[in-house]
């Protein structure tokens, strides 16, 4: 896995999860799975983070927390939804206080299904998230270069990046 150019840092937020996926995310850090092999570090500071890992669904109360964390993260950033609740609301989709999956409020790049999501699949999800992150970074760099070449053009083809 040495082909990743940077070490992505993860910000983990527990939405209204039951703790199951939450604990599995932590289990990824432990000796058996050890995501630090890939340079992945679990940070508590949104300004340091590249990947937002959300477990659990969105409810009335934590909508603004999720939005707030996402807004504070610097670009490029990737959101990974871990577990059935984060993907779609899961078993709690019909509960009165649950609005649904994380994609109701922030754009999600990788979905990791399962109840609870297995550590192997969480690692897969993070690895796919890193690939998405590289894509976004390349797109941003291309956008910057083009902007520098033609500063006042204003008629760039949309979506070329």
């Amino acid at each position: 896995m040495s082909f990743f150019r940077r070490s992505p840092w993860i910000l983990h937020y527990d939405g209204s999860s039951c703790n199951g996926c939450d604990i599995e995310v932590l289990a990824c850090l432990t000796p058996l799975y050890d995501v630090e092999r890939f340079g992945v570090v679990n940070t508590g500071n949104p300004k340091h983070a590249d990947i937002l890992l959300v477990t659990g669904s969105v409810n009335e109360r934590n909508v603004e927390i999720v939005e707030n964390l996402y807004r504070q993260m610097p670009d490029p950033k990737v959101v990974v939804a871990v577990g059935a609740c984060a993907c779609s609301g899961g078993i709690f989709a019909r509960a009165y206080n649950v609005q649904g999956g994380i994609d109701r409020v922030v754009p999600v790049d990788v979905y990791v299904p399962g109840c609870a999501a297995r550590p192997e699949r969480i690692i897969d999800g993070v690895v796919q998230g890193i690939a998405a992150l590289e894509g976004k970074r390349a797109a941003m760099a291309a956008g910057r270069r083009r902007g520098a070449l033609r500063p006042q053009s204003g008629s760039q083809p949309a979506g070329a990046a």
Binding site: P31, R37, V79, A93, R104, V108, Y111, P113, I123, D124
Partner: protein, 135 residues
């Protein structure tokens, strides 16, 4: 200074130095699944009679099944693999596979869209075995 060998962790640390690493090198080596693990629900459209029993009993309401349209849909993002549908299915169309569902990357990520929602089967007439799966 204290003798480092008398510290409580030191024996354990020394043993870990010479022992095999505990880490499973996951993407390179995949551990075999436990035979009874609840990984994902697998649907076999060839035997289903669309009786709707699984959809009624599913606690997560992840299954949509219609007898009139002869359709069956399973929201893999919502399923909690409790195994109720597998138990109630009289025709054994549903089974539990120990392999967990793969993580799913979406390339056009945006709010409220792009979620790989569900697998759908729509059968006009009784097909041959193995036909008619969709994403």
């Amino acid at each position: 200074m204290a003798n480092p060998l008398s510290l409580p962790m030191s024996r354990r640390a020394l043993r870990n130095l010479v022992a095999r690493p505990a880490t499973r090198r996951y993407p390179a080596e995949v551990r075999p699944r436990f035979p009874g693990a609840r990984g994902q629900v697998v649907f076999d459209p060839s035997t289903c009679v669309f009786c709707n029993l699984c959809a009624r009993r599913c606690p997560a309401a992840a299954i949509e099944c219609s007898r009139e349209e002869r359709s069956f849909a399973l929201d893999q993002m919502r399923c909690i693999t409790c195994g109720v549908c597998v138990e109630v299915c009289n025709k054994h169309s549903l089974s539990m596979s120990p392999e967990p569902r793969p993580a799913h990357a979406v390339h056009d990520a945006s709010v409220g869209g792009g979620r790989p929602r569900r697998q759908e089967w729509r059968l006009a007439e009784r097909p041959a075995a193995g036909a008619g799966s969709g994403a």
